[in-house]
């Protein structure tokens, strides 16, 4: 598409990653803004690390809904008549873009809560019950930091990435939980990591943790690190620093509510 088609721009930075969004429709751009990642800041520079372009087609004469098209850099990311689907695709992709382009930070796919001044980090892929466990830990008194990414700095501390908690129902349909519904406090400052839980939900499983070595803990983190393949020295340095100073526990676990209370008591 010709550059002059993009009449509206909104660029922001998040943890040092500079993201550009542009569109031919200012209202549509405003919709994207509602799902910018946590802690974004508007920037005026047009020099960005990642560019999103949203083309909204005008309504057709026949009254049919037109297709909207979203590009991530030069690749088509989503094309749909339902604008909500476009926003959803953007929200998912932009977080990953920030995770890849953040400066001096390492993004690990993990749930994070704070407890007594230290973080509990739960690395894992989707469908391991991370978000449910995070919700229950917050309900049991922990502070909410993230249900998606642990943002680690060079000192090995974790920063908040508190977006609305995304939970799936029994039909695997995502539902967002507002901070009010979640209850509990929201983390505002970076904190050191006290515990790493390598755990997955399994029906009727008992929590019988074994303590992992720092090396095995580093592997658990690396397997969920967005920039694991980047070859940047900071990745290994940060992950090994975190693993060296944290207690790393591995076990399957049962239902999140009972487990959350048990865990917080053990860590008290």
């Amino acid at each position: 598409m010709k550059p002059q088609i993009w009449t509206h721009h909104l660029n922001f930075s998040c943890y040092g990653a500079r993201i550009g969004t542009r569109s031919n429709d200012s209202r549509a751009l405003g919709e994207l803004q509602t799902v910018f990642p946590p802690h974004w800041k508007l920037i005026t520079s047009l020099n960005v690390d990642w560019q999103y372009s949203l083309h909204c087609a005008p309504p057709t004469r026949s009254g049919r809904k037109p297709f909207h098209t979203l590009f991530s850099n030069d690749e088509q990311l989503a094309r749909n008549k339902d604008f909500a689907r476009i926003v959803q695709a953007f929200e998912q992709d932009v977080q990953l873009a920030v995770a890849q382009k953040a400066r001096a930070k390492v993004f690990v796919h993990a749930g994070v809560v704070g407890w007594r001044g230290r973080a509990i980090l739960i690395p894992g892929r989707s469908y391991t019950g991370k978000s449910t466990l995070v919700r229950e830990l917050v309900r049991a008194g922990a502070t909410y930091y993230s249900d998606e990414y642990a943002v680690l700095d060079e000192r090995g501390r974790v920063h908040p990435f508190a977006r609305q908690l995304a939970l799936r129902d029994e039909n695997s349909v995502n539902r967002k939980l507002s901070f009010e519904e979640l209850g509990g406090g929201i983390g505002k400052h970076p904190i050191p990591i006290g515990t790493i839980l390598a755990t997955k939900y399994r029906a009727r499983a008992k929590w019988r943790p074994r303590v992992l070595t720092p090396g095995l803990g580093s592997l658990e983190l690396l397997a969920n690190t967005v920039t694991a393949r980047s070859g940047q020295p900071i990745v290994l340095e940060v992950l090994t620093r975190v693993a060296k100073h944290a207690t790393i526990l591995k076990s399957a676990r049962g239902e999140a509510d009972g487990f959350a209370h048990q865990l917080l008591q053990q860590l008290a």
């Binding site: 088509q76 990311l77 989503a78 094309r79 749909n80 689907r85 959803q88 695709a89 929200e91 998912q92 992709d93 977080q95 990953l96 995770a99 890849q100 796919h109 892929r125 989707s126 469908y127 978000s131 998606e148 995304a166 799936r168 039909n171 695997s172 349909v173 995502n174 070595t213 720092p214 090396g215 095995l216 580093s218 592997l219 690396l222 397997a223 969920n224 690190t225 967005v226 920039t227 694991a228 393949r229 070859g231 020295p233 290994l236 340095e237 090994t240 693993a243 060296k244």
Partner: protein
């Protein structure tokens, strides 16, 4: 026993990170973790220490050294010239343990993981963003059924 063997570790192309006696070898696509025993052996594989000397220096039986070298060679962490000697009579883990070569807590372990690419780590729980995907938010990560179609290349598509 191939006591005249002078094993040589492959070091080029790795980011090497020691960690409390363990060793992480990171080459961009895979990461190897050597436990304390395996790391100690690997570090002495400099082409100047014979198998017997490594055994003597680490106070470990030669079977332990051979078993470690076999594991390292399988993961391509040694220069290739050692393979023929090491695998002329490979030891299985069971045989190794049976031979009594085990010194307490000295079982050598080399664990390897394939590193994920950014696309392997989906946000929002693997919601399908396939341009042609229709219907309600759909998951398609190989673990949950695709709700509106068929999982193709990680996307839920109606065919």
């Amino acid at each position: 026993m191939a006591t005249s063997l002078y094993p040589h570790a492959r070091r080029e192309g790795f980011i090497i990170q020691p960690l409390d006696g363990e060793l992480i070898l990171h080459d961009g696509e895979v990461t190897h973790l050597l436990n304390v025993t395996a790391a100690s052996v690997w570090q002495l594989c400099d082409g100047h220490h014979s198998l017997a000397e490594i055994s003597q220096e680490l106070a470990l039986p030669e079977e332990t050294i051979v078993y470690t070298l076999q594991q390292l060679a399988r993961k391509q962490l040694l220069q290739k010239n050692a393979d023929a000697v090491l695998f002329s009579k490979p030891l299985t883990r069971r045989e190794f343990l049976k031979k009594g070569a085990l010194v307490a807590a000295a079982i050598p372990v080399v664990k390897t993981i394939q590193l994920p690419s950014p696309q392997d780590i989906p946000s929002n729980g693997g919601v399908c963003t396939c341009p042609d995907c229709t219907g309600v938010p759909t998951t398609c990560d190989g673990m949950t059924p695709c709700q509106v179609g068929t999982c193709i290349d990680g996307c839920c598509q109606v065919i």
